[in-house]
Symmetry: C2
Subunit: 303 residues, 2 copies
């Protein structure tokens, strides 16, 4: 089976409808964008040996991950995923069934959000597996939440326990799109999804907003995976929660009430002084712990 048979198969999986006027199968897909809705656009890639291990993870899982990363970007802006295009660079000879499984992984992630795959590009090469997804989101009546709107004196929140995602959650997480859509109308000044690690992503918000932040160590929700990892490597579980990344929980700032009822966990507050600090746990006498700089130790590609 060649590229064009595969493209025919993909086409058979797709249909026009909704905002799609002409789906995949032409040089470009044609969409009718809903009037008065902002268009949000971004792209993420996953690479063998960096974001997944093709010896360990199935193509279905790999497809899901790259789509979910993009859906999580939509969550971070509180927008609705609408459409996506994908590229796959396949190791030569890997076979069409593998390519189909990748596509079905993309669909498994996208379908529950009504996000339609409207185009793509497939090629084979003497290289390793690389998959990209570009996503289009629509504002759907909610102003997109940027990273840049935080002001001093707001609460800092996360939407779930952090750390140790490498044990498996990084391949299989649930983008917080619906939660973001419920939180945003309550009043959120800045938001991001935790991909690079809490310590680094919080810094992204602070730098974009021109504020500082103090995190309370005792408030950071630590995932069981972080504890498992800590038992193995001897590092404190809190360190894993602060720096591991790929949690894909939301991190946001707000003055609103009622956030806890929606599952948000307050972990600190924004301050006027620029910088990011962590305040240690109180001792037995109830005295405040030491306040230290929270350095960004999360993931960064070295170029």
């Amino acid at each position: 089976m060649g590229e064009f048979d595969f493209i025919d198969w993909i086409r058979s999986q797709q249909a026009a409808g909704g905002l799609v006027v002409t789906a995949a199968g032409d040089d470009l897909a044609v969409l009718k964008w809903p009037t008065d809705e902002l268009l949000l656009v971004g792209v993420d890639q996953v690479l063998d040996g960096v974001h997944f291990d093709s010896q360990v993870h199935s193509p279905r899982e790999i497809g899901r991950k790259v789509m979910n990363r993009n859906l999580s970007d939509c969550a971070a802006m509180a927008c609705l995923p609408a459409a996506a295009v994908a590229t796959v660079a396949l190791p030569a000879g890997i076979g069409v069934q593998y390519a189909k499984e990748l596509y079905l992984g993309l669909r498994e992630a996208a379908d529950p959000f009504g996000c339609v795959i409207v185009g793509g590009d497939t090629a084979s090469w003497a290289g390793k597996l690389a998959v990209t997804v570009s996503i289009l989101g629509r504002s759907g009546g909610i102003e997109p939440v940027r990273r840049s709107g935080a002001t001093a004196g707001e609460g800092i929140y996360v939407t779930g326990a952090l750390g140790g995602s490498i044990l498996g959650r990084h391949m299989n997480f649930s983008p917080r799109v619906e939660l973001a859509r419920r939180l945003a109308p309550l009043g959120i000044s800045a938001m991001i999804d935790i991909s690079d690690g809490l310590s680094r992503d919080l810094r992204h918000i602070c730098e974009a907003s021109g504020v500082g932040a103090i995190i309370l160590a005792e408030k950071v929700p630590i995932h069981g995976d972080a504890r498992t990892l800590a038992n193995r490597d001897g590092k404190p579980a809190l360190e894993h929660a602060l720096h591991d990344g790929e949690d894909h929980e939301l991190l946001f700032c707000s003055r609103a009430q009622g956030l806890r009822q929606l599952g948000a966990i307050r972990i600190g507050e924004t301050v006027a002084e620029r910088g990011v600090w962590i305040q240690g746990e109180r001792n037995e006498k109830g005295e405040k712990g030491v306040k230290e700089e929270l350095r960004p130790l999360g993931w960064e590609h070295s170029l």
Copy 2:
């Protein structure tokens, strides 16, 4: 220099304005889509050893090529390039200057068309160089031209000489966006850009439209590069023009007059009977040449 310094550098190159409300630097870029304009979207990738050779081609050339491939898709639909997002998978240790050159290559191609790069994703890996661009086009008052609108009895046209692009033109071609915008209002029923080769891309139009086609061998414009290549490999230059691909000239069907004045070259006509044929050159007595099936020998990725 790490990923985030590079991202900061890219951000310094960008600005909001036009349809861009918030450019790169957030989880997603935010655009205000022009009312009453259709949104066209697609994606193309270039891979080391397939679409370019990193030992031969500069990062500037590689960046230009992947953007130009996408701009050529816009030309094929007669739409206006509006915005793009890109991914780069960089071989570890290649250095930030290389990444900047790639980005500047993307910009060199995009800027003349007013196409703004609004986001992207950079990663390094123990793999080869892979670059993708996803493009958003806008209809801008012209109904997008699909592959599917051809009917029997129309002229088949190309916009330039074909063949031998491997000698260098495949890295350095001019997307026919402006020409497509001038041609489309005259009445074009189906269009594609020649990337896989005339023989294969004409078949794409025929299959999408439900028609057949007869090409006249003597009318196919043969590029000097095809003749050069023919002298080297002993294959007829016509074969190169028919099958090589990556010409990125437009191939379209039309009943309109006045196309020749715009530089379009008539190479045959559509017919009711399904199939794609080539009619050989007339002999010295003026007798028609043999009509044979034109098999699709252009590029196809084997999966």
